[in-house]
Amino acid sequence: MIPFILRRLLVAIPTILALIVFSFLLMDFAPGSPFATERGVPPEVLANLEAKYGLDKSLIERMGIYIWNVVTQFDFGPSFKFTDRTVNELIAQGFPVTLTYGFWSFVVAVAVGVTLGVMAAVFQNSWLDYLAVGVTVGAQVLPNFVMAPILVIIFTLWLGWLPGGGWQGGQIEYLVMPVIALSTSYMASIARITRSSMLEVLNAGFIRTARAKGLPMRRVVMRHALKPAMMPVISYLGPAFVGMITGSVVVDVFFSTGGIGQFFVNSALARDYSVIMGITILVGMLTVFFNLLVDILYAWIDPKIRY
């Protein structure tokens, strides 16, 4: 197990480096400048700005300095647009927000998804199954940028139950709609995966034996079927969590939550190179970390797997 983790961490290092180099080159290649404005900046002012941010150095030099700072001090440098902030400060502000609603969306998606999936499988071909399948497919295909405005119209404008946006430190009423908007499609995927894997397990010999012994269905499912049926769900959790972090783009735009999604899109549009790089690297690291976590979880649940 330990060597496996070490090996995976070793792969992560070139991955992150490749990501840095790739984004760096992409940024260098991009048309448009972080300092461009409608009025146009006189060349001498531009020169001052480029000097301030070290853009007057060569590409290799800049990349070297950047990687050095990231590796040695975890310092992503100053933001080009948010002139009085560093990238680390911006991430420190946006990332906890994204993580918070990402985490709750994850919990909701897994809890509701697994429950729905198990119910649908246990009562296969009943009205409950059809309803669950219908609801999950529906939830999977309704784009969240359509769902978000509808949620606000219903819960804020008509019912007046929830604030239409904002974060306010993550109070519960500010969390509800972002979590619904973000978790729904993942919840649906998890339900579908759970259902089909549960069906498979329920048809397996050992479950039939258990049923034949007269064990109640409820016990069979909880004691025997659930664990093996969770395997495919677990392998989906890594991509799902990362999807929820990147999905924060929509949540931030609609609910003004101030997470990293908004920072990323705005920075990409404004060519705020250092912020783009910082967020890309951070999310890249998170992706590596989660894939690793899922693999460990997988091995823990099913000791047969050898690495």
């Binding site: 995976r8 792969v11 992560a12 070139p14 991955t15 992150i16 490749a18 990501l19 790739f22 984004s23 992409l26 940024m27 290649f29 991009a30 048309p31 497919v137 529906g138 999977q140 295909v141 309704l142 784009p143 940028f145 359509v146 405005p149 509808i150 119209i153 499609s185 089909s196 894997s197 498979e200 495919p232 990362v242 999807g243 972090i245 990147t246 999905g247 783009v249 929509v250 990323f264 899109v265 990409a268 549009l269 783009i276 967020i279 890309t280 999310v283 890249g284 992706t287 590596v288 894939n291």
Partner: protein, 307 residues
């Protein structure tokens, strides 16, 4: 087993494998056609494709023509009407929504199909080669897939579309770039399980070269799994494109896509023009529903015991 294939099996008694394969497909077909939801979905999809292909012939307007008589009072007069030839109403600039939906359907289907195709071609070959060759090559190839999977692709795609002038080619490229990874993993797993089968060993014994074995013997045997996975990929690609359009990074005007149309419709949610959202969203949802059920049906038919 259908009678036709039995007769043929007798005729071609010498080729055991071929006969077996055929009956397997026939079996699958029979199972598929027993699944009502899947058959209905297939019909729906055929209709959608026909709509995309021939829909324009019954349109009375092109997708870019403005109906000047409606511009300025779209909410009052722009609704669906047979009298003025706008079967689905008009969009906010007075363009025929029917023609635009036809055209958007083309783009969205193309995105889905091309994305899935890239995934099938690249992913399958990659996975088959890795799985068949094995050893260090396999290790290196799969580490590369791990590496690619650690890239927050949503962010990278946003970057690509922002940096390079957006075009449909870029969209295909971006989508293709990420869609093959899962497929490669699946194909590799399947390859591992069939590479020790007799027919492969027979081929090796008769001195067939490795590339021929992979593409003549391995790949055709992966098709079942690949087809199932591809049908599930198409809706994912379509959803993906809609997200890109939501960010304003989709296709250029006057072209459009479901995502762009839905987004415009959602923007006009409060303007008293429900048809702008209803028509494209219905097409989107119905098609995705159909694709999901078709995928389920195919999976049950082709892969009865496995997930």
């Amino acid at each position: 087993m259908a009678q036709g294939s039995t007769v043929e099996a007798v005729v071609e008694a010498g080729e055991m494998r071929a006969a077996k394969g055929r009956s397997l497909w026939a079996d699958a077909r029979a199972r598929f056609f027993r699944n009502k939801a899947a058959v209905a979905s297939l019909v729906v999809l055929v209709l959608v494709v026909l709509f995309a292909t021939f829909g324009q012939t019954v349109a009375q307007w092109s997708n870019e023509e403005i109906d000047w008589s409606l511009l300025g009072n779209v909410p009052q007069a722009g609704g669906p009407s047979l009298a003025n030839g706008h079967y689905f109403g008009v969009d906010e600039t007075g363009r025929d929504l029917y023609a635009r939906t036809v055209q958007g359907t083309r783009i969205s289907l193309a995105v889905g199909i091309v994305g899935a195709l890239i995934s099938v071609v690249v992913g399958t070959s990659y996975g088959a080669v890795a799985g068949y060759v094995g050893g260090r090559t396999d290790g290196a190839m799969m580490r590369f897939v791990d590496l690619m999977m650690s890239i927050p692709y949503m962010f990278v795609l946003i970057l690509l579309l922002v940096v390079f002038n957006r075009s449909i080619v870029m969209l295909f490229l971006g989508i293709g770039l990420i869609s093959w990874l899962d497929m490669a993993r699946i194909a590799r797993g399947q390859t591992l399980s069939i590479k020790n089968k007799e027919f492969v060993e027979a081929a090796i014994a008769t001195g067939v070269s490795t590339p021929v074995i992979i593409f003549r013997h391995i790949v055709p045997n992966l098709l079942g799994v690949v087809v199932v996975y591809a049908t599930l990929l198409v809706p994912q690609m379509i959803i993906f494109e809609s997200f890109i359009s939501f960010l304003g990074l989709g296709v250029q005007e006057p072209n459009t896509s479901w995502g762009a149309l839905i987004n415009a419709g959602a923007d006009n949610l409060r303007n008293g023009t429900p048809w702008m959202l209803a028509f494209p969203l219905s097409f989107f949802i119905v098609t995705l529903f159909a694709l999901f059920f078709l995928g389920d049906g195919l999976r049950d038919a082709l892969d009865p015991k496995d997930r």
